[in-house]
């Protein structure tokens, strides 16, 4: 009869060592040279995107990183849905995505009403879809805010006040508020001072910091700030078609159709919530509906009035 070998702490320790050695011995280093074959000039980045990809652009709304993360996640979702290769195009600061659309550098873009109206006006870009908010509405509003303790209670009270706008091409930050001021009889020249800000956040910051007595920004952010007691909403605008997806003039109809069909299935509040990054902070948190150019007639007029369509 074979004698069993005695089990002892030493034997168990030996077995443990063998396991550790086995666990640590699996990774093989990749041999590289850090001192030879050096590139001294410009080093181009490795190509991580296919050359024949469709590119999607966007209006800068938040800080660049957030905008890129949102659009990049949507692009990845679309790639999965359509099988198309879709890249993200970042419009350099100081440039307009309208120019990229019309120049063909961008095939699709998530833009606000102003950018659509401008691209449509400039090169015939087509509105494909418009977004829905968290409540499912396919329109959005602007809100005029003041500091919580401000003596301003109506739009008319803004006369002679310092006012902060969003970006000049911003629908909720500039276009609709201009319309609201005009409807309240307050001209831009009635304001003591006004300024444009890059984003709704910057506008809110300008108001809450007291640098400006009032400001205009998207209604969702305004309600959020008011809920936290930072601002008080003086007035809401009427509902206007929200931001949407536009296609450049060079995009074939079937490609556009493919994109429309995919985005109509997009459910950021439900099944696709995890697939996209920070989508609730966009102007289309509830997904998309089909858009028609006629929906923007009113806004096109005011835009043209205030000179936003001028080249």
């Amino acid at each position: 009869m074979r004698r069993a070998l005695p089990s002892s702490p030493v034997a168990l320790l030996g077995v443990a060592i063998l396991f550790l050695l086995a666990g640590c011995g699996g990774e093989q280093p990749v041999a590289v040279s850090l001192t030879h074959n050096l590139i001294t000039g410009r080093v181009d980045a490795p190509a991580l995107t296919s050359a024949d990809s469709l590119y999607i652009g966007f209006d800068r709304r938040l800080e660049p990183k957030e905008d890129v993360l949102q659009i990049a996640s949507l692009a990845a979702w679309l790639e999965g849905q359509t099988g198309l290769s879709i890249g993200v195009s970042v419009t350099p600061r100081g440039s307009s995505v309208v120019d990229d659309l019309c120049a063909g550098r961008v095939d699709f873009a998530a833009v606000g009403t102003v950018s659509y109206l401008q691209s449509n006006d400039q090169c015939g870009a087509r509105i494909l879809l418009r977004g829905r908010n968290a409540e499912g509405q396919d329109t959005y509003k602007s809100a005029i805010i003041v500091r919580a303790g401000s003596p301003i209670h109506t739009v008319a009270d803004l006369r002679g006040r310092a006012f902060a706008f969003g970006a000049p091409n911003s629908t909720q930050g500039h276009l609709i508020p201009r319309l609201m001021l005009e409807e309240a009889g307050v001209s831009i020249h009635d304001l003591s001072v006004y300024a444009f800000h890059d984003s709704h956040a910057a506008t809110a910051n300008a108001v809450t910091s007291g640098r400006y007595e009032a400001g205009a920004l998207q209604d969702t952010l305004a309600r959020e700030l008011e809920a936290r007691g930072l601002v008080r909403i003086v007035a809401y605008s009427g509902p206007y078609p929200s931001s949407g997806i536009v296609a450049g003039p060079q995009v074939p109809s079937d490609t556009a159709r493919t994109l429309i069909d995919a985005l109509l299935r997009f459910d950021p509040l439900g099944d696709d919530a995890e697939s996209v990054h920070g989508w609730s902070r966009t102007e289309m948190p509830g997904g998309f509906v089909t858009a028609r150019d006629g929906d923007y007639a009113g806004l096109r007029e005011i835009a043209r009035t205030i000179g936003l369509l001028e080249r």
Binding site: V10, A31, I39, A45, P46
Partner: protein, 801 residues
Amino acid sequence: MSNLRSPIYRLPAALSRAFPRRLVTRITLAVVGIVVPAGMITLVVINLLLGHYLRAEMAASGASLARALGDNVSNALVDGDLAAIQEALNGAVSDHQDITYAYAFGPDTPVIHTFPNGFPAALLSTTSQAGKNSQGLLLKSEKGLVRDFTYRPLGDFPAEVHLGISESRITAVQNQATAWILGLTLVGCLLAAGVAYALSRLATRPLVALTEGVQRLGRGHFDQRIEVPEGSEVGDLAVAFNQMSADIQQAIASLRLSEASAQDLLTAAGAVGEGIALICDEGEGEGTFLFVNRTFAALAGHQEANLVGTNAASILHPDSLEAVRRAWQAIRSGTSRQTPTEIVLVDRHGQGHVLETAGTLVEYQGRRALAWFTRDVTERKMREDEIRRRNRELTALYALASATSEPLSAKSVLKRALRQVLKALDLEVGWVFLLTSDGKGELAASYGLAHGGGSFGFPACECGAALRENRPVLVKSAGDHCPARRALRKQEGGPCTCHATVPLVARGRTLGVLSVASADPQHFRQAEMDLLKSVGQQMGVALENARLWDELREKEQLRGELLARSIRAQEDERQRIARELHDATGQSLNALVFGLNAASTALGQSPEATAPLLERLRVSASDTVRELQGIIYDLRPSLLDDLGLVPALRWYADERLQSRGVDVTIEMSGEATRLPSEVETALFRIAQEAVTNIGKHADARHVRIALQVEAGQVVMTVEDDGVGFTPASVLSPRERSAEGGFGLLGMQERTVLLGGTLSVSSAPGKGTRLHATIPFRPQAGDSQSKELMPAGHTKHEANVT
């Protein structure tokens, strides 16, 4: 069983041989042997664990740094703010000394890096692999192992940040830990060795004391005791040692007492006559006497001192050496059953002593020895031999008596008797000579002779004196003239010429001699010669008895033959009577019947012819009557009953011999009286047989039958002058023919039955004379009426021509 031969099971023994013997050294080495491997194991384990956790920490921190750096430069990557990116990368490298390099790029941004001399082209090929492992990609470079951590701050947007973190700090920490552990191991080793040495010295101190005690005990200090506190293993061992010392001391004391007792025992045994010798059982002195007591030395005829040192075999009879060797071997092997062994010791004067011995192995003066106890049983042995010899003689005589009492032939008796004699005397060669009728010797029985026949010239030889002088003769050495010498030599293969001879005597007559041979003349002492003499007498009687038995047997055989012949003769007689009645009397009677019928017929038809016919019938009837009378007389003559023996003999002789022209003379002398009927009948039948034989064979001219009645006996003589014959050829059973001889034997038988004798003397050409004598007792009152013949007819002569 094969598992036990495997190296793993031989390892302990091999280690035990390889290590030093000292316990202190072994313990110290064992402790060092434990500490060093433990230190090495700790070293390996600590290194592995340290490396494992430091790398895990480095992976976590590297990922965090890469994430932080990526978040920091993400906006710059989006906006293409190369300066901001460069600044952030440089800051990261400068803030963390483990970060070897950093670089970042985006789809529209070139690679921004921290390499001062240019970007290594090799890193471009690793970008596709780096992002797949959250633990980073391990790179082996001139600066050692570097782990490349990748982070994409913009998610699916193709922008990456890379951080290269060197593992040199981990290696340094491991080296430092190794140095510490090695140092600690060395210190621990020295410390453990010192402690182990001290403790083992302390622990083995009782063992050392125990060892010294054992050594003292081995040198004979049986009072040695060890003082070690009880309760420990060594203390228990010390207690056991002390107990063992006490036991040994007691055993030694008992042994000394036993030795003294043994010495006393030897002395006491010697005092009562037991011889004791101690013989060395081992070494060069094996077989030599180590000790003998006075009794043993006296047996050997030496002084004790002279025997000690000599070999025991030198005083043993050569025939006893093998017995001694076997007994000694049995004692050595432990198979001895302590039964005494008889041996013969030869003393200084050459005198043998029969010793009864027994032995056992003992220790004597530090040597193994055979204690040999002896007792002189020579006289007892002689007495036993005498008794045994007596018994043997008695047995032989008894056997001889038994053999001779059986109805055997003389040669069978001699053969059996000779065998019993040889057996009783423990001899193998012997023979018996019988005297023949011509005075020569005939070898009747023998054993062990080279040839079984011949007379050896007996009785002319030396031992023939036994026959001539009727006394026992001992021939110590047969001369060359003795023919037995050659036969004996051939048989024994040596000078076996000594033989003792005694006569075989029966009824005062010497019948032969009995001789037995031996190579040793000493074999035949007076006792043996007396025995042989008794045997000779016994054998003589037995021989005589055997002869009588032979005669009796022969007579019995003859009687049986006579009975058979009588029966056969009776049947023949009946057949003859029947044949005669049928052939003669019957035919005659039939003729008479026919004649009477004819007479009856003639009486009616022709009466004149009746008379002659009746006359013929009368004559025929008379002839028939005579025929019947002849038959009747042939059966038993009525004359014998009516007139007596002589008329009956006369009538019969006339009837049988007259027609043959033989002259018959019948003579009667002595008293004229009637003899008893059985005597007369016997004499008549004897004479009848003689007459018949004469008529058949003798071709005689004259026959004389004489009867002489004397006082109490009657003598009948029948003699003729015929051709005669040789009686022996007729009376000898071997030569007796189917017909011849039985007549004479019948006559003899009849004579013997009546207590008489019959003799026949004859020779070819000289006639025959038969002489029968039968005693009788005269019958009172019958003398007048029953005479042998009518008065005045005392002599009758019948001359038949």
